[in-house]
Amino acid sequence: MIALGRTYLLATIAFLYLPIAVMVAMAFNDSALYTLPIEPSLRWFASLAVNAPLQLATRNSLLIASATSVIATAVGAMAALALERKRFRGRSLLRLLLLPPIAIPWLIVGTAMLVFFFWTGIGRGIHALLIGHVALAIPYVVLIVGAGLQTLRADLEEAAMSLGSTPIHAFFSITLPPLLPSVLAAALFAFAVSLDQFVISYFLSTPGVSTLPVEIYSSIRKGFTPEINAISTIFLGVSSALVLVFAQLSHLGGKRDSR
């Protein structure tokens, strides 16, 4: 039974990874028509170097993801602090309000942003993408930093203040240092959320200003070329690396082995 379970598990993992492996392998195939067997070549990676729209979109993606990460982490960590450490009326309502950006299908949120931004004159483009991405990342940051705060003792900070420390000093010297891994994990997560976001970016980008996933989508719709495989492979590598670092920081693998 145990052996059967393990075999089944490995088969499931194979199903999850096989198409991705195929996609990556095709990036190194010389044929423009994906003919098999594979003839190794790096020409599709080389042709990325002269693909200006793709490079511009990549730069936009990295720029927006970095800015999203910084803003969402700062703003979200502040909110997490208030939600975890302060007692006030309406706290559970505010917690509940974090759910819509996560739970409502992105298609609906994305089109709603398009309608509102267009109507109010905010318009589309980099700034609109940034506003949207930060909003999507904030709930995750609040949840991750909030979970980190729950594992810390609140009374240490109070002890420091009763010994004459100012609240701000107490926060930076007592609360923040052990909280840093959670904050860092939240920042990484926000970065990944922004980098991978497609649906909302799709509605908020303009023909001149788009992000990498939007650019990949329009290339797919124009027709398949192995160049898409090459850029997707690089993209996949970067986001997997981010998740692995995040997993390290937040001990994602479930309970830590204490046996």
């Binding site: 039974m1 379970g5 598990l9 499931t12 993992i13 199903f15 999850l16 198409p19 991705i20 195929v22 996609m23 994906y34 003919t35 098999l36 703003v75 979200g76 502040m78 909110a79 602090l81 302060k86 006030f88 505010l94 309000l97 950006p101 739970a103 409502i104 299908p105 298609l107 609906i108 949120v109 089109t111 709603a112 942003m113 309608v115 509102f116 109507w119 109010t120 506003i131 949207g132 930060v134 909003a135 904030i138 609040v142 009763s162 990944a192 991978d196 990949i216 989508y217 719709r221 997707s232 993209f235 996949l236 986001s239 997997s240 981010l242 998740v243 994602l252 693998g253 479930g254 082995d257």
Partner: protein, 297 residues
Amino acid sequence: MRSENGTLTPRGRLARREWTTAALLAPAYSWLTLAVFLPLGAMLFFSFLKAAPFGARPLQFTFDNYLAFVRRPYLIDVAWTSIQIGLWTTGLCALVGLPAAIALARATRGRSQQVLFLLIVLPFWTNGLVRVFSWTMVLREGGVLDYALHLVAPSAPSVALLYSFPAIIIGLVHAYLPYMILTCYLSAAAIDDAYIEAARSLGARTPMIFAKIVLPLSLPGLISGAILIFVPVIGSFMEPRILGGRVGVTMGTVIEDQFVQAFNWPLGAALSFTMLAVVLIIFGVSSRALSARFGAQ
């Protein structure tokens, strides 16, 4: 305490504390208001308009957009396709994911369990678009599946699954399976070993233990996984477009069309809100069912 050295009265301290709380919360919630809540409100407003209020067009209110399903019968077919896609995807994810989650929770442990867990959740944090694109390489005529089949059976007819209903389902199951494994794993891992040992010492065999203990106790994970999958799948538009081609007309793609191609924003808004209402009803009903379950335990 600061009040003891006389700088702040208790009342002043309370006021100051409230001010700090508000200052900590304001940036995050203003941002969410600007980017999520006001837009949703604006879209609700738009859904009752005859035409989008751009230029000097006067506002004309109407309920017509919500009658779209009556006026345009093809939308009923489209909605039915979306629901079918949702049911197939959720069902197959449950069928494949629950055993995998139980195997992960009960048949592995320690370091290998951590590694396998990470292997399962890793793909769902990589770009969904890239994963859908991967399937086009496998499913197209002359793709990897076709090639592999002809290596085994050279005379077999060619298989081209791309641009078909099954292709959409395969892509969506691949995209959402990790959710199901994750939620079921959390339930299955929480089962107390003592139950299983007790059953075994009383003479129960493995299939009996599976059917009477492991399966029922994993059900909450199955239900929350099903909700987490069904809701976004109904609203999916990128997967049906890429893998379904002309077959892939769903609520998601129809809504997308209203905003990107047809520029009938009020209709798109009304369709979005109809879908949102369905989503909320599903959430409401299932959370009630879930809390009833947990309340009974």
